[in-house]
């Protein structure tokens, strides 16, 4: 909650000069550069026109007005008007040249950032709060765009104008011009010092803005917890503390800003006051005409704004530099999980998944800790269903995540049909292996698109209709590709997956399978979401199915039905299932026990029950033991072993043989339960849906 500000300066971030840092933008700004150049030209011309207007005024004051030549006033006034129009046109051109290309640069950088973030491994996302990512994607890129199309142009142009202006001043009168030149020296020093201090504060402020975005995000994602504990106020106070920090940073920034402004006004003012006295003296000596003096001040007046603006433009450039740095923080992050240069392809995977001496540790785990996975050896045979059992935190979920390279092994290897999974492209690997996560993520899209997420070929072009669609799916009837065969196949796969996951409730949703779910759509209960996530994994028709405690949020009867359906799928598919419950274990042909980062036992449930003390500890509860005593007798005599897993039942019965005679109420109750309830539950589901 207290959210330590996390400033992710990458280790290699030794400071490079601001100019070099900003030059990195070339990569994205290249298409816009010619336009920016043209914009500068237009802007410069506009400024020159603005500078020339006083010259014209001078010739008017010195010429017709002094001579009383009324006839030439009109053409000269028209000249001034013409120049004025030209200035306006040039300014319009500047905008037209620069601004639209600027938005393109912003858009391409935004897309690049998004693509990079999607490509970066999960471990990256574990480290980076998404508020920091968001503030980069939105605010920082916005700053860069405005700087490119506005700040950069003005900075260059104003500097040029100042140089030219001072040149004109010198050429008008070298003495007066010299005063200006000398006066600029302190400004360079001030500017240099400002750069160093301001960059630091600017970085701090933008990082803090990112932290604040993270705090906001957490406060809305964790709203249920905050409400449940009535901790809104508490969250507010930490949020407020962060917001206050940001505020004081901003005020610090303003203080620096204020100091450079002061210099940028005082110095030219001092120069001008000297020029005024000097100029009038020179005029009195006849060195200068009155007209020349007037033109001198008029030119100096035109320079006032470019000079003052330097402070602001410098600050702007430094903010843009910070934004650029922050952008490249992400883009420069090396992706440790990449596709091989020459990916191998497994045409028809049989689904043999082998872990050989797999080690894994999280990057920031202290040295004194052993690897989380410390030499896992496990062979899942083609078509076999393997349950993975272990205590909470033993690394089961991590192990499943390794199979699709959401994380990469630190040592050892995982092979699919004998091919190291790192030799496959991630795309292919993830086609062969599908996962269902425990905390089921649904995207804002229709049920159909969510379930068929792993089958883009069935959901039209895989573009607008795909999951993650913000509105396309919800706004109108579903439009898949026109091919009726594909359509029919999609329907079939969808229906089958929903049946297997017992997710029939979706048909009772307002728009059936086209109902939009996920954050932007209808909110479903945990059990409902889990079933859709399961359906999604099943619909992907992978060679290997990896399920992370897929039934934890289901009620007992639904669980039983899902299990029954899953068996048919699992008969032909290799599966690795994380299990916390004996009921889930029952789905498996064999069970692997994960302990101290290793697989310490592999065997059937009954074998492990018999042989492994740790297994008994993990999988059986106190009541369970009581229950065992209670039902051992009835098991022995009456209970039909389910689905051919006779050996298990027998083994249990054998294990319990010495428990003696007990009642068998439970066993008979089971028989009552299973069938008659079915229809009703279907109904219930449909009603429950409404919520």
């Amino acid at each position: 909650m207290s959210a330590e500000p996390q400033h992710q300066h990458p280790p290699h971030a030794q400071r490079i000069g601001t100019v070099r840092a900003l030059l990195r933008l070339r990569e994205y700004a290249r298409p816009a550069l010619p336009w920016i150049g043209l914009g500068m030209l237009a802007s410069l011309s506009a400024q020159l026109v603005a500078l020339s207007i006083p010259q014209v005024l001078q010739s008017i004051v010195d010429g017709p007005l002094t001579d009383g030549d009324a006839a030439s006033v009109v053409p000269l006034a028209l000249l001034v008007l013409g120049l004025g129009v030209l200035e306006a046109v040039l300014i319009a051109l500047r905008r037209w040249f620069v601004l639209t290309p600027g938005t393109r640069v912003e858009a391409s950088m935004r897309n690049a950032l998004y693509a990079k973030l999607e490509d970066l491994p999960v471990s990256f996302h574990d480290r980076w709060p998404s508020g920091q990512l968001l503030s980069r994607a939105v605010s920082d890129l916005n700053i860069i765009r405005r700087w490119l199309s506005f700040g950069l142009v003005l900075l260059v142009v104003n500097l040029v104008v100042i140089v030219i202006g001072i040149g004109i001043l010198v050429s008008m009168n070298w003495m007066l011009g010299l005063v200006f030149l000398v006066a600029s020296v302190p400004l360079w020093i001030v500017g240099y010092r400002f750069e160093g201090r301001y960059s630091e504060v600017s970085r701090r402020s933008q990082d803090q803005a990112g932290d604040l975005a993270t705090a906001v995000e957490e406060s809305v994602h964790g709203i249920r917890v905050l409400k449940a504990f009535g901790r809104g106020k508490h969250a507010l106070s930490t949020f407020r503390a962060q917001a206050e920090t940001l505020r004081s940073t901003e005020i610090e920034k303003a203080r620096l800003d204020a100091s450079i402004w002061t210099w940028l006004i005082v110095v030219p003012a001092a120069a001008l006051s000297v020029c005024l006295v000097l100029g009038v003296w020179l005029a009195s000596q006849g060195v200068l005409t009155v007209g020349e003096l007037v033109a001198f001040f008029a030119t100096a007046a035109v320079l006032a704004w470019p000079i003052e603006s330097i402070g602001f433009l410098l600050a702007f450039s430094l903010d843009a530099r910070t934004a650029t740095d922050r952008f490249f923080d992400i883009l420069d992050t090396r992706n440790e999980i990449t596709d091989p240069e020459r990916p191998v392809s497994v045409e028809r995977p049989r689904g043999e998944l082998v872990f050989s001496d797999v080690h894994f540790r999280y990057q920031d785990a202290p040295d004194r800790f052993d690897d989380l996975l410390d030499g896992v050896d496990l062979e899942v045979r083609p078509g076999e269903t393997m349950a993975l059992v272990g205590l909470t935190g033993s690394g089961k979920t991590t192990m499943t995540a390794l199979t699709t390279r959401l994380y990469d092994v630190t040592a050892g290897s995982i092979t699919l049909d004998g091919v190291d999974i790192r030799a496959l492209s991630r795309e292919e690997l993830r086609t062969h292996i599908a996962m269902a996560f425990e905390d089921a993520t649904l995207f804002s899209a229709s049920v159909r698109d969510n379930v068929l997420l792993g089958r883009p070929e069935l959901t039209g072009d895989g573009g607008a209709d795909a999951a993650g669609t913000a509105d396309a799916a919800g706004d109108g009837p579903h439009e898949a590709s026109g091919d009726p065969e594909v359509l029919a196949e999609a329907e079939r796969v969808l229906a089958e997956a929903l049946r297997i996951a017992q997710a029939g409730f979706v048909y009772g949703l307002p728009d059936g399978v086209d109902t939009k779910v996920g954050e932007e759509g209808m909110s479903l209960s945990g059990g409902q979401r889990q079933r859709l996530a399961l359906a999604r994994a099943v619909a992907a028709k992978p060679a290997v199915l990896v399920l992370d405690d897929p039934l934890s949020a289901l009620d007992v009867s639904t669980e039983a039905k899902v299990e029954a359906e899953l068996r048919s799928v699992l008969a032909s598919t290799t599966a690795l299932i994380v299990a916390h419950r004996p009921s889930t274990v029952m789905l498996a042909d064999r069970v692997a026990l994960l302990e101290y980062g290793r697989i310490t036992a592999v065997g059937t449930h009954s074998e492990l029950l018999r042989e492994s003390e740790h297994y008994r500890f993990v999988i059986s509860s106190l009541e369970d033991e009581e229950r065992r005593q209670a039902t051992a007798a009835s098991d022995r005599v009456g209970r039909a072993p389910r689905d051919g897993r006779r050996d298990d039942a027998e083994a249990i019965a054998a294990a319990m043989a010495d428990d003696g005679e007990r009642a068998d109420a439970a066993a008979s109750a089971l028989r009552e339960l299973t069938e008659p309830d079915l229809d009703e539950r279907g109904l219930t589901d449909r009603e429950g849906v409404a919520r």
């Binding site: 009324a70 508490h234 006295v277 993650g468 999604r536 007992v556 229950r627 089971l670």
Partner: protein, 601 residues
């Protein structure tokens, strides 16, 4: 169609009345934001007045230096020109000092306003009911708090600057011009006509575009946040490219609307400059003839020309301000919409205190429905005596969670009363309510920060020992000790490093620490392994001994510790009795229980 609150947020086709209604509400919000800083705002303006006067004095001093100082100097009198020079320097220094002061002060104001607004949005969104959050989505709230605030920030940072200085500068220059030469002043007034017309045109066009821009940026953010939050599923199901296509579309929408705003401004801004330059030409023309006629001194004409040009100098600033204002106004419209939303579960106007709750929960003629057709819980009565542990069972969607949420006052009943110790929950002081009743949900959300921080959420002033004791009580101590930094371990974003089961243990410890009179557990142990669940249950037995508890569990192991079981079906309570009674009977619970037992091995 309604435009109250967040309704119609994504529409662009507001009628005139609706548009006005929205504008009015955002102006009200702006007013209320500025009220607390009005003293400083006035001070700022005063500073700007003086500093602008100092700046405006510049050309007059130069004119004085030339017109009076030059002739005087030819006579050998240094006085006037020296004075003019000194005065010029003085005005420069004063002006610079004032501007620096002004920058600091205006930053203070804008930051104060932003802080105020941030806090208000935060507080208000926390107050809004879950129902609101479920339909409005987190992404949009985040975009209100980030990109919309950016827009307002831009206005405040640059805007006040531009506006106050611009207006005053123009006013002063205008006045000086009129004083110096009324005829030129008249020309200037004439120039205001096209100016107003142009501005009006820009306002109407840009308002609509800026509204669309806010919507486009919110959509972008929603998609971005959703992808980053669900990155595991994104990668596992290879939706990267599809997402990029979709995101690219949203980026393009946003870019397009932005480019259009910019193009619009690209007409407005040069338009203003054109008007300014034309005015200078006219002033020159009119003034030139008068100089030749001898009606005007050359110095005065020069000053007039300088003033006229300067009058339009801040025009670009003003245009930028106006642009920023339009952008910020659209953001304010969206924000004021959120702030206008009434919490459907409002805090009581006159809260009843309940210092020490016993924990008797009573439902009296309670009905819960989203709409009259969609009744979730038909009318029912239920009393849970203090200290009783009640297990709620039934299949998914039977209404268990809804009933629990009514007790936790996540929702209010559509009809009837839910009472705690005889006090209607709606009347109960929110603080007392949350202290007395705590709900632990299946979704165990962890905030960034340490494990200890997360547990302490249950009781912010808890000592470290209390935190450890709570963790021990639920059996979380061992694994926490095993984390890299023990209780100080950062749980990372969304608890990435902590497993689902461990998250649940932490959130359990949280509830344990909160020590409420009524504890509601909604599927709070679903991800635990059996030994952990066993530890939790041992903890629960002591925890629940003297308090009211409502437990929703699919796994009936938890039910064993209940005093009473309620079986729900289609929103109705169909069985009610002690576990032993029900198991012994032939009802649904007996069947469920048997099935569960069967599932154990």
């Amino acid at each position: 169609m309604s435009v109250t609150g967040v309704a119609g947020e994504e529409r662009h086709d507001f009628t005139k009345d609706e548009s006005q209604q929205i504008r009015a509400r955002s102006l009200r919000l702006l007013g209320s934001l500025l009220r607390p800083v009005r003293a400083r705002l006035w001070l700022t303006m005063a500073i700007v007045v003086v500093s602008t006067a100092a700046q405006v004095a510049g050309p007059a001093l130069i004119a004085y230096g030339i017109d009076t100082g030059l002739p005087a100097l030819t006579q050998g009198d240094w006085m006037p020109v020296g004075l003019a020079g000194l005065a010029y320097l003085f005005t420069g220094i004063v002006g610079a000092f004032l501007i620096a002061w002004y920058i600091r002060l205006s930053a203070r104001i804008s930051q104060a306003v932003l802080l105020d607004l941030r806090t208000r949005i935060f507080l208000h969104t926390q107050k809004l009911s879950l129902e609101f959050h479920e339909s409005y989505t987190s992404g949009r709230i985040i975009s209100r708090q980030t990109s919309d605030l950016d827009a307002i920030r831009e206005l405040l940072d640059e805007g006040i600057n531009q506006l106050v200085r611009g207006v005053l500068y123009m006013a002063f220059t205008g006045i000086a011009l009129v004083v110096l030469d009324p005829v030129s002043g008249l020309v200037l007034v004439g120039a205001l006509v096209p100016l107003v017309i142009l501005t009006r045109w820009f306002q109407q066009r840009s308002q609509a575009l800026f509204r669309r821009s806010r919507v486009a940026s919110a959509k972008l953010i929603v998609q971005f946040v959703e992808t980053m939050t669900g990155i595991r599923a994104v990668q596992a199901f290879r939706t990267e490219r599809r997402n990029q296509k979709e995101f690219g579309r949203l980026v393009e929408d946003y870019r397009d609307v932005n480019a259009r705003v910019i193009q619009l401004f690209g007409i407005y801004d040069p338009g203003l400059i054109l008007i300014g330059n034309a005015t200078v030409a006219v002033v020159l023309l009119v003034g030139g003839f008068r100089v030749i006629d001898g009606g005007l001194a050359i110095g005065v004409l020069l000053a007039t020309l300088l003033y006229t040009r300067r009058f339009f100098d801040p025009m670009e600033d003003m245009a930028m301000f106006y642009n920023g204002y339009q952008s910020a106004a659209s953001a304010l419209e969206k924000i004021s919409g959120v702030l206008e939303e009434q919490p459907s579960v409002p805090d009581p106007a006159r809260p009843v205190d309940l210092w020490k709750a016993d924990g008797t929960v009573r439902f009296e003629r309670v009905e819960f429905a989203y709409t009259p057709e969609r009744v979730i819980l038909p009318r029912f009565d239920l009393t849970i005596p203090a200290g009783q542990t009640v297990a709620l069972v039934g299949s998914t969607g039977a209404g268990k969670s809804t009933l629990a949420k009514l007790i936790a006052r996540f929702y209010d009943p559509s009809d009837g009363v839910v009472e705690l110790d005889g006090v209607d929950l709606r009347q109960l002081h929110p603080k007392d309510l949350r202290r007395a009743i705590v709900m632990v949900t299946q979704e165990a959300y962890l905030f960034s920060g340490s494990v200890a921080d997360n547990i302490a959420l249950g009781k912010p002033d808890a000592t470290f020992d209390e935190i450890v004791a709570a963790a021990r009580a639920v059996g979380a101590h061992e694994f926490i000790e095993g984390l890299p930094n023990g209780y100080d371990t950062d749980v990372n974003k969304r608890g990435g490093r902590v497993s689902a089961g461990q998250r649940q243990l932490i959130s359990f410890a949280r509830a344990f620490l909160a020590d409420p009179a009524v504890l509601i557990l909604d599927e709070a142990t679903s991800s635990l392994d059996i030994p952990s669940e066993r530890a939790v249950q041992e903890g629960l037995q002591s925890l629940l001994a003297d308090r009211t508890a409502v437990i929703i569990a699919h796994r009936l192991s938890t039910v064993a510790i209940a005093d009473r079981v309620l079986v729900m079906e289609h929103g109705r309570i169909v069985e009610d009795g002690s576990p032993a009674e029900l198991i012994g009977g032939t009802g649904r619970f007996a069947a469920m229980h048997a099935a569960w037992r069967d599932s154990l091995v």
